[in-house]
């Protein structure tokens, strides 16, 4: 993350008021952000053991912080072009509504704190599966991916 962006994010922090924190990452060159409230941790990607008969987006099981978690490939969910798929390097553990899953991402970009009003889904200009609003980060519009919606959509696809 550039120094200017950090200063901008830091400038928006109000220690008194409530604010939301997002983890900005990318998958298949698509930048997205996850609410830190749903995020349990990040790590480099470990060994993934395929599980036969599961949905296509769940590529297998992987070990994460002492537990076995389902590994979700966002590229399969968003049907991203395989040519645009970069090598997956990191894993993000999310938990929402009693569900846990490891999202496979290309990179971890930055952390971003903002006003809850700013992270509104009212004027969302895109419609990713699991999207719940969007934020402005360094002049770019980045969709907010809700872990709960995302995991539910996996169930619906299944």
């Amino acid at each position: 993350m550039s120094e200017g962006a950090s200063q901008q994010a830091e400038a928006t922090i109000d220690p008194v008021d409530n604010y939301r924190s997002f983890l900005i990452s990318s998958a298949a060159k698509v930048e997205f952000c996850l609410d830190l409230a749903d995020t349990r941790g990040v790590s480099t990607i470990g060994k993934i053991i395929p599980i036969p008969g599961t949905v296509k987006s769940i590529v297998g099981l992987t070990y994460f912080r002492g537990g076995i978690e389902a590994a979700v490939d966002l590229r399969q969910i968003w049907e991203a072009s395989l040519d645009e798929v970069e090598k997956i390097t990191h894993a993000v553990l999310v938990e929402a509504e009693g569900r846990r899953a490891v999202l496979l991402v290309d990179s971890l970009i930055d952390l971003y704190n903002c006003n809850p009003v700013e992270a509104s889904s009212q004027y969302a200009t895109s419609s990713f599966i699991g999207q719940d609003g969007e934020i402005k980060f360094n002049g770019r519009t980045i969709p907010i991916i809700s872990a709960g919606l995302l995991l539910k959509s996996i169930d619906k696809i299944n």
């Binding site: 983890l23 349990r40 971890l108």
Partner: protein, 510 residues
């Protein structure tokens, strides 16, 4: 008659003539002696008076002049006559003529010796008639003697005429035939033949004439054959002379051409000699340059050896630097991994801080700073890695360049060794060139000398060719003249009539 015909010509002419002459002499002597006596006496009387008068006058004049100092010395005075001329001669006792006189005038015969026989006593005049001398006597009748004289003379004349006629009919006919034959031969008719009948000189002459004609005819035929051969040979000589002249001209031209070529060769040889001297100088300079080149190449080889050694050391240093750069890259990768781990830890710390709520905000700030530091470290490590990669690439390039330069230096060393070898070859070649050129110069000198001798010989040959041409021209003129002569001789020999015309032969025979 037949006997007379068989007589010799001398006999034919001499015997009758002698008879006639004897007869005539006898007759004439007798008649004239008588007649002269009468006639001389009259004339002596006539002339004596004149001569005595003149004689007296002459003696007086001589006495007066002193040419006669003593009349006693005059022993004899003779008056002599010769035909109708009467003269007197005064001579001394030694018969030396003192003076003479004739009936016509006085003449001087002083000093001559008188060889005329004198008749009569001394100091007396005497008279002489041709063939008869003596004193006058009285003779027979003059008329009878004159008649006898005339008859004798007539007999002589008539006999002579008759004999001449006989000769004309018998002898002169054959002589005329011989004359005609001779004339015909003179007119180149060699077919003439005389009658050889008889035993006299004319028959011998005719036989000799016929033999002569036969021999002359054979000679003419031989001359004709020889003339034909001479004509053929002359034509051959002319053709040979022409051929020789043409050959000589060609030879002269070729000699001139060879002379010009030899002159050109001599000039070229001189140029080659000059060029050889220049080549010797160039070879000498090449030799010196080769020595300098060898020395310079040796120095260059030493320097190149030093460069090669230095370059090898630099290559090793560069390899060491490359290894160190790789080690630095490994360190930087390690730092980047630590930074990534740190960043990941910072993310997790931030996540945990967010989960901690209000209590984790301070920790979240620290986690953010740690993450920023990790990002800076990672960024710096990436930049350092990039720099190190650039340095490694530069080192690779330098190493490759050093290796290439080292190879070039090695190639330069090999090239310098080759250059030294070539320079040694050039030096050896320059030495050999000098030796060869010196040999060429010597050979050219000998060649020039030989060419000069050859040129002189060619000039002699050229001059002799000119003289030969002149000689051939003269020989051709002579051969032409000889041919003209042979042609003339051929014409002359052809003009001789050698074969008898059948018609004329038959007519002659008939």
């Amino acid at each position: 008659m037949s006997r007379w015909l068989r007589m010799g010509l001398t006999d034919k002419l001499f015997v009758p003539l002698v008879g006639i002459l004897l007869l005539s002499v006898l007759l004439t002597t007798y008649l004239t002696s008588s007649a002269q006596r009468i006639s001389d006496r009259q004339r002596v009387e006539q002339y004596t008076g004149r001569i005595r008068a003149q004689w007296i006058t002459l003696v007086r004049e001589l006495w007066i002049k002193g040419e006669i100092d003593d009349l006693n010395h005059i022993l004899r005075v003779s008056v002599e006559t010769d035909s109708l001329l009467t003269y007197a001669i005064l001579y001394d006792s030694n018969r030396r003529v003192i003076a003479g006189t004739s009936a016509i005038d006085t003449f001087s015969v002083t000093g001559l010796r008188l060889n005329i026989p004198v008749h009569g006593p001394g100091n007396q005049a005497g008279l002489f008639v041709a063939g008869y001398a003596g004193r006058f006597e009285s003779g027979t009748s003059l008329g009878l003697k004159m008649a006898i004289l005339i008859a004798g003379l007539s007999t002589i004349i008539i006999g002579s005429l008759i004999y001449m006629r006989l000769l004309d009919k018998v002898l002169l006919k054959r002589i005329r035939a011989a004359s005609a034959a001779a004339t015909a031969i003179a007119n180149r008719d060699l077919t003439q033949k005389l009658d050889e009948s008889g035993d006299d000189e004319l028959a011998s002459l005719a036989h000799a004439f016929n033999v002569m004609v036969v021999n002359l005819r054979s000679l003419t035929k031989a001359i004709h054959r020889v003339v034909v051969e001479i004509d053929d040979e002359t034509a051959g000589i002319l053709a040979s002379v022409d051929s020789q002249a043409l050959l000589s001209m060609t030879q002269k031209e070729q000699v001139s051409q060879i002379t010009r070529t030899m002159a050109s060769m001599a000039e070229i040889s001189n140029q080659i000699a000059v060029s050889s001297s220049e080549v010797v100088k160039i070879a000498d300079n090449t030799l010196k340059g080769s020595d300098k080149g060898v020395a310079a190449t040796d120095d260059s080889r030493g320097l190149m050896d030093q460069i090669a050694i230095g370059n090898s050391e630099r290559v090793e240093q560069i390899k060491d630097l490359k290894r160190r750069a790789v080690q630095i890259g490994d360190v930087m990768e390690f730092i980047e991994r630590i930074a990534d781990q740190t960043k990941l830890i910072a993310f997790n710390a931030s996540i945990e801080a967010a989960g901690a709520g209000e209590m984790g905000r301070r920790f979240e700030v620290v986690a953010r700073e740690i993450r920023r530091l990790a990002e800076n470290v990672s960024e710096s490590a990436g930049q350092i890695s990039t720099r190190i990669t650039d340095i490694q690439q530069s080192i690779e390039a330098i190493s490759a360049r050093s290796v290439e330069e080292s190879q070039k230096v090695q190639s330069g060393l090999v090239a310098s060794l080759h250059t030294v070898t070539v320079l040694h070859s050039i030096r050896e070649g320059a030495n050999r060139t000098t030796e060869q050129v010196q040999g060429i110069s010597t050979a050219i000198g000998n060649q020039n000398e030989a060419a000069a001798n050859l040129l002189n010989s060619l000039k002699v040959i050229d001059r002799q060719s000119g003289e030969l041409n002149q000689g051939l021209s003269g020989l051709r003129f002579i051969a032409g003249a000889l041919k003209g002569l042979s042609t003339s001789l051929h014409e002359i020999s052809s003009s001789f009539k050698l074969e008898t015309d059948p018609e004329s032969t038959s007519s002659r025979t008939s």
